[in-house]
Symmetry: D2
Subunit: 118 residues, 4 copies
Amino acid sequence: MSAEDPLIELRDRLRHFAAERDWDQFHSPKNLAMALSVEVAELVEHFQWLSEDASLSLPADKLLEVGEEAADVLVYLIRLADKLGIDLAAAARAKIAVNALKYPVEKSRGSIRKYTEL
Amino acid sequence: MSAEDPLIELRDRLRHFAAERDWDQFHSPKNLAMALSVEVAELVEHFQWLSEDASLSLPADKLLEVGEEAADVLVYLIRLADKLGIDLAAAARAKIAVNALKYPVEKSRGSIRKYTEL
Amino acid sequence: MSAEDPLIELRDRLRHFAAERDWDQFHSPKNLAMALSVEVAELVEHFQWLSEDASLSLPADKLLEVGEEAADVLVYLIRLADKLGIDLAAAARAKIAVNALKYPVEKSRGSIRKYTEL
Amino acid sequence: MSAEDPLIELRDRLRHFAAERDWDQFHSPKNLAMALSVEVAELVEHFQWLSEDASLSLPADKLLEVGEEAADVLVYLIRLADKLGIDLAAAARAKIAVNALKYPVEKSRGSIRKYTEL
């Protein structure tokens, strides 16, 4: 498995998982987007009362839980992209290239301003 | 680039992107979790008034926009996992294995019930 | 209590609740916004796999649970507004007036288009 | 208008607003829950890169924008509750009473722990 692209590998595992359970009927992009937002919130919940510093040094048990939530987010994101025929890696590469144009190094260094306000 | 794991490749690109702009100071897991939730909502927004059927057959321009939002979600998810030292692909594989135990094929076929209610 | 504005009454109850528990230290607007998003996701979770029709006719036990999540959303929204000095009712009245300008009856009747696309 | 309950007043205004535009067809609880999550994210976006301290002292223009987003959240929450027949104020009062049992003052003072961990 080591030579394989994990986004493809996971996509195929998830297709199989859903097919076996006859879950494709529930996996409309609309529903998957909702499920994705719910999983992200379960991740956010771990951080809501923590300081930023504390969020950087989670105890091991919390880190494991956060890892599971992050995994759920990836799972639904891959599933949603699959249903829509989106190539996630290519889309992310394109987005990073666009962001490099929106946020030139000189203008955005050390700043949280949106590109519309630079 | 074709032989490379895209999750590693994107992680490295994003590290470089943030380092060049001195943005690591803003990228606490707490803040990245918030940003992730905002990007997911921008994805959800495209589907909020659509029927499930319509969400399956987006017009080309909408599909492109949805792809950009999905890319943003992946970007922040990778960045968050990197800051926490989480191996996303391994975590997703583990989660799928756990879900296979929670949702046995026979009991969960064609059902939306949570495993706690099977 | 019947003559009182419930948004004021609830605001005061929540102030008292937090003060008694010394929770104001955690209730920064940043944290409350996160908590609000988590509560909304718990509400969304109830609807993620339901058809729109099914979402209109929840069984009594589900409706009770949804009511509890809706209450949590209101609670954190009131708390956030209080911390920022926002008059929620006045802000909502103003927003409805703005929306009436953005969405003239003739142009928006039966349409889901955003005002920027009317 | 001053003697009226704002939650009832706003509910009625929003009913009228939707009826005039023939929007009830889009306002299933499923869709309204999605819209609610999108509005909350627009609120979260204002805080994602701010420190907790900075979130407590927003400049006037940001505060106005946050107020508009908070208003949108209230609007969709009221609309969702209306569609489901939920009395928001009563549900919030009940939830506060339950929370007082879950979080006894002595045990929860100064603590962010969930009641399941007290």
